[in-house]
């Protein structure tokens, strides 16, 4: 198990170095420089030269790359070109916005998908199954940004139940903080709920047809015991895989949802860094997102062991 863990961590490191290098190269390949974003249409050649020098952008790309890694290895992610604030600080301020959003979305998705998937499988080919399938299909097809706008129009402008965006920390004011998270979490979690519902339905169907379920029923166990005790746990294994993969999708969905709901999360920080060509900030964001992705996938693999005793990493 330990050897497996070490091997996975080494792979994770390779992934992160690779991701950081590719993003660094891509940002240098696309046209535009932070100098343009800062000076605007008032820029003059003299001001551009002075600013490029000040920001270290007049150095060869390779030198910039190596010096960036040098700083990262010393634990310094550098400073944002735009705000001049340390990248580490900016990211650490944003994680408390994005992580609750992602967790809340996941919670909403699970609360919808687990019962819907189970009921749909148990009532296969009935009108309930049909209804769940149609809703799930709609959930998959509706883009998050559109749903987000509709939610704002309905629940903020028309009924005035939830705020139309903005952010309040859950730690400062738990009730207001949660109210600000509800609409973005629904917008973000809907697709996830749809994917998960279909996944749970199909794996439940597969498991319900298995021999040991028939045996359990033959032993005279209650339907509840058969479904919850025997079928659900096994049906969850593929769902857990999906949850692991979907965390990446949640984070990328947050790029758009945070923009629509004016949430100062890591997604919005990343988008802004791309638009501003703020290379140190973008590199920092990408490393952190890649790290979260890698860790979640590792944890997913470890959960398998708990869920399915046949799996072990010896």
């Amino acid at each position: 198990m330990l050897a497996y863990l070490i091997r996975r961590l080494i792979f994770a490191l390779v992934v992160i170095v690779g991701v950081a290098t590719i993003s660094f190269a891509l940002l240098h390949l696309i046209p535009g420089s932070p100098v343009d974003a800062i000076l605007g249409t008032e820029s003059t050649p003299e001001a551009r030269v002075a600013l490029e020098h000040q920001l270290g952008l007049d150095r060869p790309v390779l030198v910039q790359y190596v010096s960036w890694w040098g700083n990262v290895l010393r634990g310094d992610l550098g400073s944002s070109v735009m705000t001049k604030q340390p990248v580490g600080k900016l990211i650490s301020e944003r994680l408390p916005v994005t992580l609750p959003l992602a967790l809340f979305s996941m919670l909403i998705a699970l609360l919808i998908a687990v019962p819907a998937g189970i009921v749909s499988a148990l009532r296969r080919n009935t009108w309930i199954d049909g209804l769940v399938s149609v809703i799930a299909f709609a959930g998959l097809s509706i883009p998050g940004f559109w749903l987000g706008t509709l939610l704002i129009l309905g629940f903020s402008v028309h009924w005035q139940i939830f705020p139309p965006g903005g952010y309040v920390s859950i730690l400062d004011d738990p009730i207001s903080g949660l109210r600000h998270l509800v609409l973005p979490a629904i917008a973000l979690g809907t697709t996830f709920a749809a994917v998960l519902t279909r996944m749970i339905r199909s794996s439940m169907l597969e498991v319900l047809g298995a021999d040991y379920i028939r045996t359990a029923r033959a032993k005279g166990q209650t339907e509840q015991r058969v479904v919850v005790g025997h079928a659900l746990r096994n049906a969850l294994i593929p769902a857990v895989t999906i949850i692991g993969v979907q965390v990446g999708i949640l984070l990328s969905g947050a790029l758009i949802i945070e923009q629509i709901f004016s949430l100062p999360g890591i997604g919005r920080l990343t988008v802004q860094a791309v638009l501003d060509r703020d290379i140190p900030l973008l590199q920092g964001c990408i490393i952190v997102i890649a790290l979260i992705f890698v860790i979640v996938n590792l944890v997913t693999d470890l959960i398998y062991v708990y869920l399915d005793p046949r799996i072990s990493y010896q």
């Binding site: 343009d36 249409t41 139309p164 207001s176």
Partner: protein, 527 residues
């Protein structure tokens, strides 16, 4: 109004309109705008201390150093924090007193003497003196500092400070637009010790203006609080101003509808629906923006004057104004707005397809040509305007392929390197015609802001003459001629003079957004 109260009202099924009328009839204060974010009304925020105004800044400031940051989102914040020697009077468009109480210009136009106001302090409590003015201008001229106003001081010979309240600028040749240039943010007077404290300066710089930056959180807000030491007696009225960063236009409109914010810029397409909203006023204000189509005059076929003239009469700007600007703005041939004393009424630009075809034939392009137009789709009006021009010019056998790029790419490739055939953007005119025209039209500015690479000896001569002249009548005549050439020969085609729409809650009084995108909060009040 608290949430339970509001819910109670809802349960007795009073709609917002009835409620408002009822409140009006009973003479009650309007308590309708429920702030769903805080559970409080934005009206309640107008307390005795002046209250807190919440404004949508749109995007993050690209920096808050007034000598460097050149984006409008930065100006909105910086205008509240920094003072210049002079300040434009919105009524007359003339430079009036600010940090300098009075000034004199020598007859030869080479020496400017400024008498500073006494008792002005920076918000750190230190008195502002002539040394600060000298240091600020020297900082702008320092080649190490990426200041955008270096050009204003290129002919400056020396700065004298005979005493703490007198500053003398000695120029080697006349620079006519100087007084108006000294009204601009990029010539703000800064305290040296604060600028040199780099870490603090870059996040929360200080000046002598009516407000102080209390906090600055990227993607969230910049919060300004009243400068208690501000030199204008009794101002500002507001205790705090929160500039929120709400980038999505739809979300900003939703925020002003619900009363979560007091003010935001409104896209032309939303004006009508927002104007129907109770408690919200939409103000259409003249801006200094002149959206334009541009062609690169250094590449074929746009190096041919007749082709440029054919394009000018080859499309109808009324259609663009209706479809892309929803009927707002004013069609104009020159970039200077009405009310600017230097604006010339230049004729000879009307949609005339026959003449356009003739000009194309004369230029040897009767069969037309194919070009690419690079536009930024994030600018609301550009895609519609581009498609209309594309359709009109196809009549002249000009085949336009529209390429959508993102704004940073536009800045770097189109604006800085002139890598384009056709494009479009909006420039902002300044009060002095020199500052509006020289940068974008003089051949000495090729490779800088003259991105259409326009080069015309007659235009150069007029612009040089205008800059060097101190006689207003003579300048008026010079710039009238320059505007004629601009319309007839240049690579810029003014689409209209844009109006900006601002959505404001009805308790906001004296909102001041001057045409050159200068936002002044100091006289604004909440009722």
């Amino acid at each position: 109004m608290s949430t339970p109260e509001l819910n109670k009202l809802r349960t007795i099924e009073l709609d917002r309109r009835k409620l408002l009328l009822g409140a009006l009839a009973s003479g009650a204060v309007l308590p309708i705008a429920y702030n769903s974010a805080t559970g409080a009304s934005v009206y309640a925020q107008a307390s005795e201390d002046g209250g807190t105004l919440i404004f949508n800044n749109g995007t993050n400031p690209s920096g808050l150093d007034p000598h460097i940051a050149g984006a409008v989102a930065s100006w909105y914040v910086m205008d509240q924090v920094f003072d210049r020697l002079l300040r434009l009077d919105p009524e007359t468009s003339e430079p009036g007193p600010s940090l300098a109480e009075s000034y004199e210009v020598s007859e030869d136009g080479l020496t400017y003497t400024f008498n500073l106001r006494s008792g002005v302090t920076f918000s750190n409590g230190r008195e502002l003196t002539s040394d600060d003015v000298k240091w600020s201008f020297e900082r702008i001229m320092d080649p190490e500092v990426p200041a955008v106003a270096k050009g204003y001081f290129s002919a400056l010979d020396s700065i004298e400070t005979p005493d703490a309240s007198t500053v003398i600028l000695n120029y080697t040749e006349p620079f006519a637009p100087l007084l108006l240039a000294l009204c601009r943010l990029e010539t703000s007077i800064l305290p040296q010790e604060a600028v040199e404290d780099t870490a603090t300066w870059e996040v929360a710089p200080i000046g002598s203006g009516p407000f102080i930056i209390e906090s600055n959180v990227k993607d969230q807000s910049v919060v300004l609080v009243r400068n208690e030491n501000y030199w204008e007696e009794g101002l500002p009225y507001l205790a705090r101003v929160e500039h929120r960063i709400i980038p999505q236009a739809e979300t900003a409109v939703a925020n002003i509808r619900t009363g979560d914010i007091h003010g935001t810029e409104v896209a032309a397409k939303d004006i009508e629906s927002l104007a129907d909203n109770e408690g919200v006023n939409v103000e259409l204000l003249t801006s200094s923006l002149w959206p334009h189509l541009s062609v690169n005059t250094s590449v074929a076929p746009f190096d041919n004057l007749q082709v440029r003239q054919a394009i000018r009469c080859g499309f109808n700007r009324d259609d663009i104004m209706q479809a892309a600007f929803y009927g707002t703005g004013m069609i104009s041939n020159t970039m200077l707005p009405e009310g600017n004393p230097y604006r010339a009424e230049v004729d000879g630009w009307a949609y005339d397809p026959d003449r356009a075809k003739q000009l194309m034939a004369d230029a040897g392009y009767a069969d037309g040509f194919s070009v690419t137009m690079r536009i930024v789709p994030a600018v609301a009006w550009e895609p519609a305007a581009a498609q209309i021009i594309q359709a009109y010019l196809s009549e002249l056998n000009i085949n336009i392929e529209i390429e959508q790029i993102e704004s940073t790419t536009w800045f770097s490739e189109v604006f800085t390197n002139s890598e384009f055939e056709m494009s479009m953007t909006a420039h902002s005119s300044k009060v002095d015609p020199d500052l509006s025209m020289l940068d974008i039209l003089h051949s000495g500015e090729l490779g800088t802001k003259n991105y259409t690479r326009f080069s015309d000896p007659e235009m150069d001569e007029l612009l040089d003459q205008g800059r060097g002249s101190t006689n207003p009548d003579e300048r008026m005549e010079t710039y009238a001629k320059a505007q004629e050439i601009f319309v007839d020969r240049s690579g810029y085609f003014v689409l209209n003079l844009q109006e900006q729409a601002w959505g404001l809650r009805d308790n906001v009084q004296d909102f001041t957004m001057l045409p050159w995108s200068e936002l002044r909060w100091k006289e604004t009040q909440l009722s």
